[in-house]
C-alpha cells in the first residue's frame, strides 16, 4: 500500500478505461493465436491444408458445419 487513503475518497471503486496503448500489444498477440485456432476449426483441410490429409478436417467436421463455416 503506497499512498495513504484519504477518508473523503469515495468508497465505491470505479475503474477507469484501460489505456489503448496498453491493450494494443495484447490485441496483436491474441488475434494471432485466435486466427491459428479458428483456422484449424474453420478451414484446415478444406480450402487450405497445412498438415496434410483430412484428419483435422474430419475431426472438427461437425463443429465446422454447425458454426456455419464453409466446409466442403
Amino acid at each position: 500500500m503506497a499512498a495513504p487513503i484519504a477518508a473523503d475518497r469515495p468508497t465505491v471503486w470505479a475503474p477507469t478505461a484501460v489505456p489503448l496503448r496498453e491493450i494494443l500489444p495484447w490485441v496483436v498477440l491474441v488475434a494471432l493465436m485466435a486466427v491459428i485456432g479458428l483456422y484449424f476449426v474453420g478451414a484446415e483441410g478444406g480450402a487450405a491444408s497445412l498438415v496434410g490429409g483430412t484428419a483435422v478436417h474430419e475431426f472438427v467436421h461437425d463443429a465446422r458445419h454447425l458454426l456455419a463455416f464453409p466446409c466442403h
Binding site: A43, A48, A68, P70, C71
Partner: protein
C-alpha cells in the same frame, strides 16, 4: 487488468462452448445426421464405393464437436475480452454486465450474422467441393470487411458524440455500418450451390440450428464475462471500503 480480462474471456469462451455444445447436440446434430444419411443413400444409389472414414461419426459428433467448439469459444472469448477492454468506460456509462452483453451482441452481428446472411451455412454434401477455396475466401473477406466496418462505425460514434447527442451519434454510426455492409453485399458475388430438389426443410433447420449455436455462444460469452467482471469489481470495492473503514 488486460491480463485479467483475457483470462476471464477465455473462461467465458469455454463456458459458452459448453452451452453451445449442449445446444448443438440437441438441435444441430439431428440435422447433420439427416444430411449425412442422405449423402450416404445417394452414394449407395450411384454405387459409389464408400470412402473409408478417417474419423468415425461417433467421434465427430462428440469429441470432435466439443474440441471444435472449445477452440472456437476460447479464441472468440479472448478476442471478445479485448473488445470489452477497449469499450468499457470509454463510451456509455454502462456497468460491466451491460457493456459485456452489448459488445457480445455487436460481435455476434459483425462476426456471424453479416457473413451468414450473405453466405449461409450448408449441411454436409451441399456445395461443390471444387469451389471451397473460392467460397472460404469470400466468407472470410466479408467477415473481415464487416469487422473493419464495425470499427469505423464505432470511431464515427466517438467523433460525433461531442457534437450530437449520444443517441443520434449511435444512430448515425449504426447507419454507417449498415451502409458499408450493404455495399459489400452488392459488390461481392453470391453463392448458390444448393442442388435442385434438396429438401428445403432440412436446409432451413440446419441453418436455424447453426444460427442458434452462434447466438448461444455469444450470449453466454457476454453474460458469463459480465457476471464475472461485476462480481470481481464488487469484491474489489468491498475490500477497498474495508481498508478505508479500517484506516478511519
Amino acid at each position: 487488468m488486460v491480463r485479467t480480462y483475457i483470462l476471464r474471456g477465455l473462461l467465458a469462451g469455454v463456458i459458452a462452448a459448453a452451452a453451445a455444445f449442449g445446444f448443438a447436440r440437441v438441435v444441430g446434430e439431428p440435422q447433420v445426421e439427416r444430411a449425412v444419411a442422405r449423402e450416404a443413400a445417394a452414394a449407395h444409389q450411384r454405387d459409389d464405393p464408400s470412402e473409408p472414414a478417417v474419423v468415425s461419426r461417433d467421434v465427430q459428433t462428440t469429441v470432435g464437436l466439443a474440441t471444435g467448439l472449445v477452440v472456437a469459444g476460447a479464441a472468440l472469448g479472448g478476442l471478445f475480452s479485448l473488445a470489452f477492454a477497449v469499450v468499457y468506460r470509454r463510451f456509455a456509462d454502462a456497468g460491466a454486465r451491460g457493456t459485456a452483453l452489448a459488445v457480445a451482441g455487436a460481435a455476434c452481428i459483425a462476426v456471424f450474422v453479416v457473413p451468414f446472411l450473405k453466405y449461409p451455412a450448408n449441411p454436409p454434401a451441399v456445395g461443390n467441393p471444387a469451389t471451397i477455396g473460392h467460397r472460404t475466401a469470400l466468407y472470410f473477406t466479408l467477415l473481415a470487411f464487416s469487422l473493419v466496418s464495425l470499427v469505423i462505425s464505432v470511431a464515427c460514434q466517438r467523433r460525433l458524440v461531442a457534437r450530437l447527442s449520444a443517441w443520434n451519434a449511435s444512430l448515425i454510426a449504426a447507419a454507417t455500418y449498415l451502409a458499408l455492409v450493404a455495399a459489400a453485399y452488392v459488390i461481392l458475388p453470391g453463392v448458390d450451390e444448393v442442388a435442385a430438389g434438396y429438401p428445403a426443410s432440412l436446409l432451413w433447420r440446419f441453418r436455424v440450428a447453426g444460427a442458434g449455436i452462434q447466438c448461444v455462444l455469444w450470449v453466454t460469452i457476454g453474460l458469463a464475462f459480465g457476471t464475472l467482471t461485476e462480481r470481481s469489481e464488487r469484491g474489489a470495492a468491498r475490500s477497498r471500503s474495508d481498508l478505508i473503514s479500517a484506516k478511519g
